[in-house]
Structures are given as structure tokens and as C-alpha cells.
């Protein structure tokens, strides 16, 4: 028991936490955009799966990780266009459209994997980049500043997303179409277009989330690689109160628990692995019950917009 709380283990747990948080950050911050504009996209997990496959396959075939990343983003964009077409243009029920998108991503990624790759292979993913000076800070340095580029980018995304939502005209439009689309429309804002763009931003980020999983975190692809991470990301949006900073908090909390249980298993601490794996999910549910602040929920969330209804 003594060595569990040694400095090394703690630093290991934190290091894993940072890596684990990466895909959640991409996916959940993307979902913040979609939901702030009033669209719940439950298909995040499906987008992640298909993009993770695309990134892995392209990287495997070409040997170029950046091309893999690009492929993931393109797949994300296409899935985002599909989601917005169905839920914004056709005004279909968002929850159902999202689940449909998830099934599509799940099935298609699994099929393509069987046809095009066949067996589980690994590649060499993005390598850690040590930031000079910073990584020399004792204890924190190695945890924070010895990560790969996708990890840094995920954390940079938090202030960027905050800036875009709070400080730009686009962000203001996104918020207005999620809160009161009729008001936005009456000022000449194209509600559908803003929703398309927001959903697509979310989907591209979900695509990057998938890539960060397959070519940076695990460096492999297999059936249902995400195991529901996309759904956790959606939950994190509620947990984080639709704010990028809140989402960051949620992602870190979730990941630290997850990382803790992984390390416990590695160290052979005697808890049933089922219980250990359940821990982070349980925590998510509890945290959601305690923290969700409906006041901040976009008022038009889940509501298609039709002009002249007020």
C-alpha cells in the first residue's frame, strides 16, 4: 500500500490524466459549440469512431500522421454536414438524428476496419515534444510539458473556444440562435447557417478527438475503440455548464479518476476490475446530478427553428 501514494505514482497518475483528457476535451468543446447554437449532437461517439479509423488508416498507409489528422477532420466535417442537414434543414428530432449518426459511425468504422485492415495493428503515433525550460520544472514540468502536439492543442482549445464564444461577433450569433432564434432571425441573422457552422465545428473537433485516440493515445484501431467516450463528452458539456472552462474541469476530473483506476490495476491493488472501470462513469453520473445548472442551458436547445412562430 505504501508505494501507491509515492510521488512517482502520483506523477504517473497526473501524466496519464493529461493524456486521457485530450479526446474528451476535443469532443466536449466541439459539443459546446453545437449545443450553444441549440443543437444536441448525440452522434459525437460515431464521429469519433469513424474519424479514428480514418486517421489510423491514412497514417498506416501513407506513414504520415498529419495526413491522418486531416482525414479525421474531413470525416468529421462530412458527418457534421449530415447531422446538420437532418436536424437543422429537415428539422428532425435531434436526439434521434444523433443516435442515427452514432450507429452509422459505429457500423461503418467496424466494417471498414474489417475490410481494409483486418487485424489489430499498431503504428507509431505523435511523439512527445518537450518544451524547453518549462519541462525542467520539477514535478509539474514532466507532467505538463512532455506531451505530444495533439495534447497541447487540446488544452489550447479551451481559451480559444472561450474567446470565440465570448469575444467575437460569431460567438454572439451562436449564443443568440441557441437562446432565442426568433430574435436572431429578426435581426437578419441566418439561424440555420449559424447552426450548420456550429454543428460542423463540433463535428470537426469530434473528428480530432477520434484522431487523438487512434494516432496519439492508443496508436491502434479496433472495433468500438471509443467505448462510449463520445457520450461521456456530451455529459461533460452539461457538467461544465456549456462553458469551455467548465468542460476542462469536468474532463480533468473524469480523467483523473480514470487514470487512478488504471494505475491501481497496474499496481495490482486488489479491487475487482469491473468496479474500478465503473468508477469514472459512476462519478460522472453523481457529478451531473450535483452540478447541472439548467439556468445556463441554451433555451432553444433541441428545438428546430421555424420563422414566424412567435
Amino acid at each position: 500500500m505504501k508505494n501507491i501514494f509515492s510521488l512517482n505514482v502520483i506523477s504517473g497518475i497526473l501524466n496519464t490524466m493529461i493524456a486521457l483528457a485530450t479526446p474528451y476535451l476535443y469532443a466536449a468543446i466541439g459539443e459546446v459549440f453545437a449545443q450553444t447554437a441549440g443543437v444536441v449532437n448525440l452522434g459525437v461517439d460515431g464521429i469519433m469512431l469513424l474519424s479514428a479509423f480514418a486517421a489510423f488508416y491514412v497514417a498506416l498507409v501513407t506513414g504520415n500522421l498529419w495526413l491522418g489528422l486531416l482525414a479525421a477532420a474531413v470525416v468529421g466535417l462530412l458527418m457534421g454536414l449530415l447531422m446538420s442537414f437532418v436536424s437543422v434543414s429537415l428539422k428532425a428530432e435531434q436526439g434521434v438524428s444523433g443516435i442515427g449518426l452514432y450507429m452509422l459511425g459505429l457500423g461503418l468504422s467496424s466494417l471498414l476496419f474489417k475490410v481494409m485492415i483486418g487485424t489489430v495493428k499498431t503504428i507509431e503515433g505523435f511523439k512527445p515534444v518537450e518544451l524547453p525550460l518549462l519541462s525542467a520544472i520539477p514535478f509539474l514540468g514532466p507532467i505538463l510539458f512532455r506531451n505530444n502536439i495533439l495534447v497541447y492543442a487540446a488544452f489550447l482549445l479551451v481559451p480559444i473556444a472561450w474567446f470565440v464564444l465570448e469575444k467575437t461577433t460569431f460567438g454572439l450569433k451562436v449564443k443568440s440562435v441557441g437562446q432565442n432564434p426568433a430574435a436572431a432571425d429578426s435581426l437578419g441573422i441566418n439561424v440555420d447557417r449559424i447552426r450548420y457552422v456550429s454543428v460542423c465545428i463540433g463535428a470537426v473537433l469530434a473528428g480530432l478527438a477520434g484522431a487523438s485516440l487512434s494516432i496519439s493515445l492508443t496508436n491502434l484501431f479496433q472495433d468500438n475503440l471509443t467505448a462510449g467516450m463520445g457520450f461521456i463528452a456530451v455529459a461533460l458539456v452539461y457538467f461544465g455548464g456549456w462553458s469551455p472552462v467548465g468542460v476542462l474541469g469536468g474532463a480533468l476530473l473524469f480523467s483523473v479518476v480514470n487514470s487512478f483506476q488504471l494505475w491501481m490495476q497496474v499496481l495490482g491493488v486488489n479491487i475487482p476490475s469491473g468496479v474500478a472501470v465503473m468508477l469514472p462513469y459512476l462519478l460522472t453520473i453523481v457529478a451531473l446530478c450535483v452540478t447541472v445548472n439548467r439556468v445556463r442551458q441554451p433555451a432553444a436547445l433541441n428545438k428546430p427553428f421555424e420563422r414566424g412562430e412567435s
Partner: protein, 519 residues
């Protein structure tokens, strides 16, 4: 100010003409063969009962609906607007009957929304704020650019709407019942604003149910009834009664409540304190009592604590001190439902937000409170036949214009929604009623009807707190008048004790003694 707006200001808006407009909704022909035009620099008023089709006509001019038939001609050029964006860039602005504001954003953000920014993709709220303050001063519109819209009273929200249009510098501004929420003094100020705008070459389309306002500000007046134009008159050659005749086709009786001996004390409010949404004290020690069979009028400019008081009485807001006694029982901590069960009723100021569910049908909205009442139940099932006949009776009695009982309430015209809520609350035969702005946005015929109903309730022994910014309404109906200013009651007067001007002074914060000695 956007570039287009400046151009429009320079060239003034030309003549705008709507020709033979037809617009149908399921079950209603909202406009049929309507012709309407506005000359540059003109104020053209649009009159008509609730549901006559005024808002519908204007929404077509603002690009929100497309006419089924007919044309819109601007400066001689037939135009077709695909969206409000097109109308805005043609120099048309509209202030909507139901506010088009985003409650979670600040005033400045609402004004900036959809406008190009001087810093490209980045918001320039400082510039916007400066411009708002400039405009606000120029036109005498008191606003706080940093406040969140959800914290504002209806009157304040209206000012933001007006500012939004001014900010966009529209040449032709459509005002769909802009004065419904303002006090006489505020209306006077607003009219000064309008006159200045007209002098600069703006044209205005002005919708109101208040004839004296319409006669005071307009050059021409067009009356709509049931979607058709009844006629267009020059304001200087038309009389009030002729207009009423055109609108409703019958005489309207003046209010004349018989003096009446009030009964026992029903409701007593003692030193009530409550916080407003902005975290400041909105009620600072309010005390008054209402007896049965009495109407206590509460006059005041909106935003002086009336809304908070109504909500405290209804049980929708927590008081931070003091007591509310109903029939001698302390109900300060009772829930809304407990109060309703005790016989209190509430007609809210924000009827769309607090009084109705937009997506629900007319019938469902009638039963928001009473769906659990044994009268409308068979065991655990709802008695739909009975509910339907009850809803039918209410719709008929209150002359609510609706295509059917199953129409979602959001498709009714503003005045008809108010009538329906009124019908619902009064049909429950309350012991005590809070009526907040009960006739705001309601046409003359229906106002008369609502006033009669309130007086009937008074006859029946209901105690009524009538909150209104319409001094004529307050003076006409109330047995006693309380004047509210900055969260306090400035004084309580008997009917006939003070003139409109004196009450107006007290509404502006002048002490009672001073106001009563003023001539």
C-alpha cells in the same frame, strides 16, 4: 451604424407600398387584399381589433412572412424580401409586439447582435456601448448597456427594442404596439423622439390600441377589420368615434364603476422586502391592504418594483422580509399552488413567459391549473368532453379569436392570448386577484370587456390588485390608488382625490404632500 443604414438616412426612405396583400394561415385569412402605403416622413397608423391582421401585415413588410399574393413596392421597384436581413438592408426596422431580445445577453450584446463590428470578427462592445449611451441621451431612453436583458422590466426591454432599431438607423420603422408598455409621460417622451425622427425624414408605421395616441402622432390612419382594410383617413379629419365605429362597428361605453362599500380585509402586506433580479433590493418595505370587493390600483412606471411585488404575491419570488397575510393567515412561505388553492389568482405581466405554454393548444392552456380538479376528471383520466365544453364556453364568453380550440396558443394574436389567460383566471372565481397590466395590447372592445369583468368580480366580492401603467385604467377602475416608486409606496389615495398630473408626479418620485399641493 452600418453603412446601409447611413445611405438610407441620406436618401431618406422612399415611398413604401403594399398592394393587394393576401396572407392565409391554417383556418384564417389574416390579410385579404390589403393595400397600404407610407410616404417619406409620414407617420401612418394601423388600427384594428385583436386578430385583425396588423402584425401579420407588418411581418410581411419586414420579410418574416412571404405574402401569398400581392406585391411590396419600394420607391417604385417591386421587391421581394426573403428574410428580415433583406428588409434591414432596404432600410426597414421593426419593433415587435413580443420582444425579440436574448435574455441571457446584455443590452449592448443584444444591440450589437448581427451588426458588423468595427473590429472585424471581434466584438467591439465598447464602441457599441458608447453609441448606445449617445443614442440613449439623444432620445431620452434610459438604459444600462451592461445589464442583462433578463433582469429588465418590460418597459426597459421596450426601450432596448427601440434603441436596436435606432442603432440600425432604419429609414422606415414599424412599431408594433410600442406604447403598450409605457406610462403617459414615457409615451410623451417617445413621441418627441418620433417627431424628431420624422423631421429627419424617417417614416413610421405605428400600431396602437390607444386612439388618443394614434390621433396625436399620425398623419394618416388605416383601419383593419378581419384582415380587410375598412378605410384610410387623414388624422386631422377623423373623429375618435368614427374610428371606433370603423374598428368594432359599435359604441363603446365609458367606465363607470358605482361607488361601493368595501368589505372585510382580505390581503394584508406588511413591510415586504424582496431582492430584484439584479441583486438589489427591489421592494423596500411595502405595506398595504386590500379588502374584499375593492380594487386597489397600483400605479407606477414599470421597473419600480411592481413585477417583484406581483411575483411575491403569486409565490414566484421569495421575499426577504415582511409578511403577506391572506384572510388573516400568514402565507409568506406558501408555494404558488397553495396560494392558488387558497383562492388567489394571478394574471402575469409577461403572459407569454409566465401565463401560457406556447406550444400547448388553446384548450390545454385553459387547463394549466385545473387539470387536477375533480370537476374535469373521471378517476385518473381527464374528462375531455367536459374540458372541451368549458374551454368552448370561455373562448366564446371572452370573444377569443382562434381558428379552433386545438390551435397552439403561440399562433393567436397578442390580445387574444391575454383574453384567454384572463378568461382562465376569472373563471376560477378567485377570492383575490392580482392583475398585472391586464389590458396591455388588448383592443378597445376587449379592454372594455375585461374592465367590465374586473368590475363584476369586484361586485362579487373579490379583492383585486390592479397593477397598471395606464393611468386612465387605474383612475377608471380603482377604489383606491397606491403609487409605487423605487420599491416603495409613495402614498395611497382615494378615488377622485388626485388628478392624473398629481399621480404622474408621484410616479416620478415627488412626495405625496408636495404632489397634492401642486396645481
Amino acid at each position: 451604424m452600418s453603412k446601409t443604414a447611413q445611405e438610407v438616412l441620406k436618401r431618406k426612405t422612399g415611398r413604401v407600398e403594399m398592394r393587394n396583400i393576401v396572407k392565409c394561415f391554417p383556418g384564417v385569412r389574416a390579410n385579404s387584399q390589403v393595400c397600404f402605403d407610407v410616404d417619406p416622413g409620414e407617420v401612418h397608423a394601423l388600427l384594428g381589433e385583436n386578430g385583425a391582421g396588423k402584425s401579420t401585415l407588418m411581418r410581411q413588410l419586414y420579410g418574416m412572412y412571404r405574402p401569398d399574393e400581392g406585391e411590396i413596392i419600394i420607391d417604385g421597384v417591386p421587391t421581394s424580401f426573403r428574410s428580415p436581413a433583406d428588409a434591414i438592408s432596404a432600410g426597414i426596422g421593426m419593433i415587435h409586439q413580443h420582444f425579440m431580445l436574448v435574455p441571457t445577453l446584455t443590452v449592448a450584446q443584444n444591440v450589437a447582435l448581427g451588426q458588423a463590428s468595427s473590429r472585424g470578427p471581434l466584438l467591439d462592445l465598447k464602441v457599441v456601448t458608447a453609441r448606445i449611451i449617445e443614442l440613449a441621451e439623444e432620445y431620452g431612453l434610459k438604459v444600462d448597456p451592461e445589464a442583462f436583458v433578463w433582469q429588465l422590466s418590460v418597459g426597459e426591454q421596450q426601450r432596448i427594442e427601440i434603441l436596436k432599431a435606432l442603432y440600425r438607423g432604419a429609414g422606415l420603422i414599424i412599431l408594433d404596439e410600442p406604447t403598450a408598455v409605457l406610462t403617459p409621460q414615457e409615451v410623451e417622451d417617445l413621441f418627441k423622439t418620433f417627431r424628431r425622427m420624422v423631421a429627419e425624414g424617417h417614416s413610421l408605421i405605428f400600431i396602437s390600441h390607444k386612439l388618443n395616441e394614434v390621433l396625436a402622432i399620425s398623419d394618416r390612419i388605416t383601419v383593419l377589420r378581419d384582415g380587410k382594410v375598412i378605410g384610410t383617413r387623414a388624422a386631422k379629419d377623423v373623429s375618435r368615434s368614427e374610428l371606433v365605429g370603423m374598428m368594432v362597428g359599435r359604441e363603446i361605453k365609458a367606465l363607470d364603476p358605482r361607488p361601493r362599500e368595501a368589505g372585510v380585509e382580505l390581503l394584508r402586506v406588511e413591510d415586504l422586502h424582496a431582492m430584484g433580479d439584479r441583486g438589489m433590493e427591489a421592494l423596500c418595505g411595502v405595506s398595504f391592504a386590500v379588502r374584499s370587493g375593492e380594487i386597489l390600483g397600483l400605479a407606477g412606471v414599470s421597473g419600480n418594483g411592481q413585477r417583484e411585488l406581483d411575483e411575491c404575491l403569486a409565490g414566484m419570488r421569495k421575499s426577504s422580509g415582511g409578511k403577506v397575510l391572506y384572510k388573516g393567515r400568514d402565507i409568506s412561505h406558501c408555494t404558488l399552488n397553495e396560494r392558488v388553492d387558497a383562492g388567489m389568482a394571478y394574471i402575469p405581466e409577461e403572459r407569454m413567459r409566465d401565463g401560457a405554454i406556447r406550444e400547448f393548444s388553446v384548450q390545454e392552456n385553459v387547463f394549466l391549473h385545473d387539470h387536477e380538479s375533480p370537476e374535469f376528471r373521471h378517476g385518473i383520466f381527464l374528462d375531455f368532453a367536459k374540458m372541451r365544453s368549458h374551454a368552448e364556453a370561455l373562448v366564446h364568453d371572452f370573444a377569443v379569436k382562434t381558428p379552433s380550440l386545438d390551435t397552439p396558443i403561440k399562433n393567436l394574436s397578442g390580445g387574444n392570448i391575454q383574453k384567454l389567460i384572463m378568461a382562465r383566471e376569472l373563471s376560477r372565481k378567485p377570492g383575490f386577484l392580482v392583475a398585472a397590466q391586464p389590458t396591455r395590447g388588448v383592443d378597445i372592445g376587449a379592454s372594455e370587456y375585461i374592465h367590465q369583468r374586473l368590475l363584476e368580480q369586484r361586485e362579487a366580492g373579490t379583492g383585486i390588485l390592479l397593477v397598471s401603467e395606464d393611468l386612465d385604467e387605474i383612475m377608471g377602475l380603482s377604489d383606491r390608488i397606491a403609487i409605487m416608486y423605487e420599491g416603495r409606496i409613495m402614498g395611497i389615495l382615494d378615488r377622485g382625490q388626485a388628478s392624473v398630473e398629481q399621480i404622474g408626479f408621484m410616479m416620478a418620485g415627488v412626495e405625496m404632500g408636495e404632489a397634492l399641493s401642486a396645481r
